[in-house]
Amino acid sequence: MVDIQTIRDDGYTVLKIQGEVDASSSIQLDEALAELIAAQPPAILVDCTGLQYISSAGLGVFMSYIEELDSKQIKMVLFGLSDKVRHVFDILGLDQLLQLVDSQEEAKALLT
């Protein structure tokens, strides 16, 4: 059960994820990200404020785009992760590969 919204703003696009990303809903996340990246925005902010749970399949989706984002020089920053969700990213080591910050302001600051 996940709701994903894409909000386009000046210079960056916000991907707002709400709900739980499990094995089945990770497909939606994958589709949203693929579509977003295909549009080649300069930066992507992922709003995880409403993200309650993410399974390894969901983490796999983020992981799978890291290389592509690098090669296309698109910056991606995740913000607003709850402690629990953040912990899942940390354990897996994804915090070493992705930029995770607390707020949207911090995320925007990273872009400039």
Binding site: S56, I91, L92, G93, L94, L97
Partner: protein
Amino acid sequence: MSAKSIIRIALALAILAWLAMVATDMVVIFDLRNPVNMGIEPQVPNIFFVIYVLAVFVFYKYRIGAAQSDNFIDLLWKIFITGLLTTIVSLALTGVDVVLGGTHLISHPLVVDVLYLIRLGLLLAFAISTFVVWKRLILYQKSKLLLRGWMVFEYLLLATLLSIFVPFDFTRYLFFVVLPFAVVLSGNMKWVAFLSFKQKWKSLLLLVLTLLYLIYFYVNISEIRGTHPYLQVPGNMQFVLSLLVFTALYAVFSLLVILFNLPTSSVFEQKLEEVVNFQRLSQSVQTEQSESQIYNILLNSAVRATQADAAWIEVKINDKEKMFRHHIGSETIMNIKNYFKNSKGNDPFIFDHPERPVRHARSLRKLRGVPFASMVVFPLVMSGEQTGLIVLLKELREGFNRDLIDIAQTFVNQACISVEGFRLMAEALATERYKEELKIAQRVQRQLLPAALHGGPDFEIAAFSQAADEVGGDYYDTFQINEHQTALIIGDVSGKGTSAAFHMSQMRGIFHGLAQMNLPPEEFLLRANRAISSGLDKTSFITISYYVIDSAARQVTFARAGHCPTLYYNYETGKASYFTNKGLGLGMVRNKQYKNYIQSRTFSYKPGDILLLYTDGITEARNRQGEEFGYERLLKLVEKHAGLPAHDIRQQLIDALYEFCGHRELDDDYTVIIVKFK
């Protein structure tokens, strides 16, 4: 007695009765013309006449009446053959008459009598066979009332037949009772409706011939009786007349009904065909037909039902556009579609509200180069989604009236239901196959986990692993590197089903291959990452923790590849804590950079210390309120039961976990390994 023997006996009886009738009648005639009295009453030939009639009736009743087939043409054909044979014989007799005409022999009363009785016998046989067939036709789809009426009619005929033995003459009046029955019963013509157009023509021909035979016989016999008055006996002419009137009446009625039915028969036939086609559509799901076959049936049925000149179906099957065409080329289809695309107004091939199936009818009159003048388009709607369309075309202007469109719509709806059913069935089959696959994967996976773990000289080890209903991706194993070194691994493969089991088996191979090389844990992870990355799809990864326990140095060195942090219990302080060395899942960075993301760690152990390895199924297990078991609860549990042997700690953990969840079924796989140092 079997029907066959009854037929034989009846035939023999009829022949004997006829012979006896001839013999006795000759005697009677001889008596009449000569003063000698042979002592035979004139009634005696009549008795044989009655026996003959009854025997012939039984014969045909069993021969024709018992046949089960409802093939009306067959029945009519049988009468026709009987009529033909009897007529040929009768004509042959006439031929003999003509050739030998005027000779003394042929005009002798006894010879005349024999020839007359042959003709009478033939006429009766033919009339009775016709009677039996008419009975079947009249009683086709009978009602109770009709059956009763028929019984009365048969008894009346029998009464007429037997009336010759009654001294007073009321047969004349009986005829007037029989006649209305014959007329009313002749009104039953249900069988005509079931004849096809062609069959109706055949029936007409056969009925006309039957009528001609009847007339010929009657005229023939009346003529002979007229010229030879001594032939009054035997025979019950009232009965013969009743029989002939009835058979002729029904033949005439049938003839007229068929004649009047001819123009409408094509409509009836069409309706019948619609029903049959409809049935085929409904049944196509049950038999193993492909979706394409259902569309082909729909195309043919719709074309025939609406008498369209051409048609096509466009539909998506497994996300591929497919086209089924009937008497129309792709070029013409393109022409028509382009015409509407470029013209003003709504495109009939686009349905704005596919959830509501609304058909589009259009005129093609203004479209040059295409032989069609009218068109109707139906959307194919399955599970509330439009998956295609069917287009019917006619050369006539306004060729599709409301009735035809409604019929076609019914076919379209039924076809959609059939396809939907077909797809559901295919899906169910696929699910079944998937379940089988899972079972195999489960079996493979169980075999991948070790039956027993290697304890060491100074530690004991206990493990427990449970997969959720699907195939799990948890893996653990031990390997004795040398006398004092033991390798220990715990891992979790992302993804589920066969691919997870497959990656797990790869991981096992890598573990057993690399462990014996006695590599430092960091190096182990680096090599394992390189080995496993090429085989993983881009969203999959594996988390592991790799430990080397050195009993000589009483030290553990380990590295973590994104796996849950290890819990360590210190006996001296009585406190447990999680190691926080950094790590990254295998397959997440698929190059040499990987080594920058991991960190190995070494610690010394003392007796009573505990190492707890687990997978996220434990910490993420939820209770009914949605609360997670969590790290803190696990830590406290270990602290609480640290004094117990490894096996008992394991049991305490499992019990606590189940108690927390409130049930024994967990949503995820979970594994726990306890190493307790001595």
